[in-house]
């Protein structure tokens, strides 16, 4: 029986992506101009998945309203995880809707159809496998799940955030599971109140059934921090996952310049003399003022850049207003998040949903501004600014 259905886990906020996650979960943050989750759906559907169940929770109306009841003619069922008690719990919540072998995929990381296809094929070709885990080679494993794969492609161990120097593959967050494997995984006792998917997998590996690894060299990208969205966009351009495009409903003045790669989404307006690109993604209904410059930036929907503004290495949330002649000079800079400092990140500024600057504002490299803040005209800002504050 082929793998036809998928469960996509999209209920968690993704706290490290704050302040962009104020009203939506990490899967709805823009990879280019589309939500991460939309890319995931595209790859699943291209890999032949015909039914999708999405586990939603934090900021769920953002997911539900974006996709509605179907996406590309594939029906989407929503299952609500009221309290986010971990990815294993999310799977348990969705499991009730599934009575056959299914794919389980993280909704907050980019995977391509190759990984998805490799997992499906490997699972279908291995009648003894109760589960098949997609794995890739990756340098940086300390933040992710490590998988020890034996010579016969069976999984012998799963380790979260491994620090020893054994040979690990990275768990790409794509699983093909038999229904009784889901049962085993979801009956694991919680540790510290959290049901983690990895604990469930570990139980499966320890059990009698065979867990296989499907090695893939497909694309896998995760945004760990909000400024990673810039690298995500660049990677999408480089790999040809997204292509430069100016939507037909966008209005671009004849004297404006678009430097590829760049995406100008529907309803955008680019005024006279503006320069947009390269490596720029403008979400829908973004406005770029006359003679403004935008380079290597992800500007989310409904944001406006005033005339003569400059934005380099910039990530914005939705409905952000960058005033006339404001300057985001670009990275590298030190980024301060709570107690930690990330040195020399290539970030000009990160500005969360519906923050307004009145114009003539200078952003020191690495500045983070929370949501719905107001920055008065002529101010210089640096460091980390809380949501709903006024800077004068």
């Amino acid at each position: 029986m082929p793998v036809r259905s998928a469960i996509v886990l999209a209920a968690g906020e993704g706290k490290r992506l704050r302040p962009l996650t104020r009203h939506r979960p990490k899967p709805m943050l823009p990879a280019g101009t589309k939500p991460i989750l939309e890319h995931v759906f595209d790859e699943l559907i291209d890999a032949g998945i015909e039914e999708v169940t999405v586990v939603v929770g934090y900021g769920r109306s953002a997911v539900q309203s974006h996709f509605g009841s179907s996406y590309r003619n594939v029906p989407i069922e929503y299952v609500v995880q009221e309290n986010q008690l971990g990815s294993g719990h999310a799977l348990a919540v969705a499991a009730a809707t599934v009575d056959e072998r299914t794919l389980v995929v993280n909704g907050d990381q980019l995977v391509d159809r190759q990984i998805v296809g490799d997992v499906i094929t490997a699972h279908e070709d291995a009648p003894d496998a109760v589960a098949t885990i997609g794995v890739i080679n990756h340098d940086e494993l300390s933040e992710y799940g490590g998988v020890i794969v034996d010579a016969d492609d069976t999984v012998s161990e799963i380790v979260e955030n491994p620090t020893d120097d054994r040979v690990y593959r990275l768990n790409a967050g794509v699983y093909a599971l038999e229904s009784d494997a889901i049962e085993t995984m979801t009956s694991v006792e919680p540790t510290a109140g959290e049901f983690s998917l990895t604990d469930g997998l570990a139980a499966l590996v320890a059990g009698s059934g065979t867990v296989r690894a499907a090695a893939s060299d497909g694309m896998w990208i995760d945004a760990t921090y909000p400024w990673d969205l810039l690298e995500v966009a660049e990677a999408l351009f480089e790999t040809g996952t997204v292509e430069s495009e100016i939507a037909s409903s966008a209005r671009v003045h004849e004297t404006a310049t678009i430097v590829e790669p760049a995406i100008v989404a529907p309803d955008c307006v680019i005024n006279a003399g503006a320069v947009v690109g390269p490596n720029v993604c403008l979400g829908q209904n973004v406005t770029v003022g006359a003679n403004a410059t935008v380079g290597r930036s992800v500007v989310d929907a409904d944001s406006r850049l005033g005339a003569n503004a400059t934005a380099l290495d910039c990530v914005t949330g939705r409905g952000v207003r960058i005033g006339p002649a404001s300057t985001i000079v670009g990275g590298p800079g030190d980024v301060r998040v709570e107690a930690s400092v990330h040195r020399d990140e290539r970030l000009g500024a990160l500005i969360a949903d519906r923050t307004t600057d009145e114009g003539g504002v200078t952003y020191a490299p690495g500045t983070i501004v929370g949501a719905a803040a107001t920055i008065r005209a002529g101010t210089t800002v640096r460091g980390s600014i809380d949501s709903e504050t006024e800077v004068r």
């Binding site: 409903s249 529907p266 409905g319």
Partner: protein
């Protein structure tokens, strides 16, 4: 006003009972007082039940009905006779040879009924519809073939109708239309007809719209549409772009909440390609040259009427001579209308009988007519000279939400166009509305306010200028889904009478935006109710000092008065929703109401 469906399939097609029940579930928005089906299998069998479709499902001997491929179905909103099993459709003749479903009103039914009773026919229901099967049976008795008998019966009735009939022993299905919607679906393994496309969209997206005065005969392999003389008509087969899945609840508890959350998307669709901030232009491609300098009349009902009031105010602010009229009062009021008048009918469904009647009168008087609607192929699009689509997408909740917002915006564009365009600032403000609505959806405290105020004696809504239609709409939405007493007033009218209603148990919702004279005057009216200890809820952008007099504040982003009218209304939609939810009301199908009102 009701929904009808009919189906004739081949041996390989789906069972009629499945097609009918599935279709009726998509038509329940048109009425849910009762539902019924009539199947022509070996013999004619009719099943019906008072109440929502689920009641019918629970009493149907579904398995014994399998294998049949011809049938009709009906979901009812009562006009003649209360909701009951007897008054549910289909109706039959005395010998159960003919079953009929009908949407509309037989205006001469009393005369026909008297005549039939005199001839010895006994009636089972109080409906106007029941005369039709008796008339058909009469003609069959006289030796007419089924199609001829159907035509003779239709010839005798006056009024509005979409009618479908099945006859015992005949595989084909007969239908006719006059002033009630009817559309034929052309499938690979059968043919369909219904009041609205979603009823059969699961089976086919190829449709033929039936016009007034036309007859339909469906068989498994063919369909034939004829005029009153029996001449066969060649009508275009259109492909509808309507994803059946759009009509799911997508994880929301109610369609209404889903549709409230769809407003940013709906508004983007409404604006797309129509406003150009670079050139400062509006383009409404559907409309031919809009060079009009005579009076402008908006006609509409219910929520659409509030959008019409909004439009008329926007026009008048720009120096145009414009008024809004309740469509059902339009004729009675003897509003002067002539070739110099532009009459704009606003109807979400495009099938609102009152509005269509007013538009037809305007046509007769020589006025130019524009229909502003959400429904491609609806009657309004054919009655009017021009049509402007609001592009809100399908709305299932009976209480209109996203279609109102889209009407406000589409009508603002139309008003701007009538005045030669909109300013750059106005276009910028319009382009910001979708995100401002999203801001309200992301941050609203309406649920908390609703929980505080639920159980109050009555709920009053006030506003001035463009906030006045918002107050009326806020009150209408509130009463529709909570069943509580709610009234909207022009803020200045409060002191001329309604103030007598105000107590500490009557919350007053005041919409105050900007800091101009309009806001200052409304604040004076707020003080009047505050002095009577009424709980005050202000919906405000924070520009004025209104918050000082408020017990609760529902914030909206700062924008111009047009944008504010759209955004403020969203806060009131949410208040209504959460109060109704708290009270356990049937939010998507409020009692006694239906979505598309195709009777006068």
């Amino acid at each position: 006003m009701c929904g009808i469906i009919g189906y004739v399939g081949g041996e390989d097609g789906p069972d009629a009972i499945d097609v009918l029940l599935n279709g009726l579930s998509q038509l329940e928005y048109r009425g849910y007082d009762s539902a019924g089906v009539g199947l022509a299998n070996a013999s004619l069998s009719v099943h019906k039940a008072e109440g929502e479709l689920s009641k019918l499902r629970s009493v149907l001997p579904t398995e014994s009905l399998r294998g049949g491929h011809t049938g009709i179905g009906h979901t009812r909103w009562s006009t003649h006779g209360p909701p009951s099993n007897a008054n549910a459709h289909p109706h039959t003749d005395e010998d159960d040879r003919v079953a009929v479903v009908h949407n509309g009103i037989v205006e001469n039914y009393q005369a026909l009924r008297d005549e039939l009773v005199d001839a010895g026919v006994s009636f089972e229901s109080e409906t106007d519809t029941e005369v039709i099967p008796h008339l058909i049976a009469d003609s069959l008795e006289a030796g007419d073939d089924p199609e001829c008998a159907f035509r003779r019966a239709i010839d005798r009735i006056e009024g509005s109708y979409a009618i479908a009939a099945v006859v015992d022993g005949v595989d084909d299905l007969f239908a006719a239309r006059n002033e009630s919607p009817l559309v034929v679906g052309v499938g690979d393994d059968g043919h369909y007809l219904a009041s609205d496309v979603p009823a059969f969209i699961d089976h086919t997206d190829r449709v033929v719209y039936v016009d007034d005065g036309e007859f339909v005969r469906l068989s498994a392999t063919d369909y034939r549409i004829t005029d009153a003389d029996g001449t066969v008509l060649e009508k275009p087969v259109e492909t509808v772009d309507w994803d059946a899945e759009d009509t799911g609840k997508s994880g929301y508890d109610h369609y209404m909440l889903k549709e409230i959350h769809e407003q940013p998307t709906a508004l983007r669709q409404c604006l797309r390609g129509r406003v150009d901030e670079l050139a400062g232009e509006i383009t409404l491609t559907e409309l031919s040259e809009l060079d009009h300098d005579g009076p402008i009349q908006f006609v509409a009902c219910g929520t659409s009427y509030h959008a019409a009031l909004h439009a008329a105010t926007v026009c008048r602010e720009r120096g145009l001579h414009a008024n809004a009229y309740v469509a059902s009062e339009y004729a009675a009021d003897r509003i002067p209308v002539g070739p110099e008048t532009l009459v704009i009918g606003v109807t979400q469904s495009g099938e609102t009988a009152d509005t269509l009647r007013a538009l037809r009168e305007a046509n007769r008087a020589g006025a130019r007519t524009i229909g502003v609607t959400n429904t491609v192929g609806s009657s309004a699009t054919r009655v009017c000279d021009d049509v402007l689509y609001i592009r809100a997408g399908p709305e299932i909740g009976v209480a209109a939400t996203k279609t109102f917002a889209s009407q406000q915006i589409a009508l603002t564009l139309l008003a701007g166009q009538l005045n030669g365009g909109l300013s750059y600032d106005a276009i910028e403000a319009l382009r910001s509305v979708p995100d401002q609505v999203q801001t309200v959806l992301d941050t609203s405290r309406a649920k908390t306010v609703a929980e505080e105020l639920v159980g109050s004696d009555a709920f009053l809504f006030i506003g001035r200028g463009l906030a006045y239609p918002v107050a009326l709409e806020g009150a209408l939405k509130f009463k529709e889904i909570t069943y509580e007493h709610a009234e909207g007033f022009a803020a200045g009218e409060l002191k001329h009478g309604p103030l007598a209603l105000v107590t500490d148990e009557t919350p007053v919702f005041a919409v105050v935006t900007g800091d101009g004279e309009t806001a200052r005057k409304t604040i004076s009216n707020i003080k009047e109710v505050e002095a009577r200890n009424a709980p005050v809820v202000v919906v405000t952008d924070g520009c004025s000092e209104a918050e000082r007099y408020a017990d609760y504040v529902l914030e909206i982003p700062e924008t111009d008065d047009i944008g504010a009218a759209v955004v403020a209304n969203v806060q009131l939609q949410l208040v209504s929703y959460w109060v109704a939810n708290r009270m356990g009301r049937s939010i998507d199908k409020p009692r006694n109401l239906a979505k598309s009102v195709t009777v006068d």
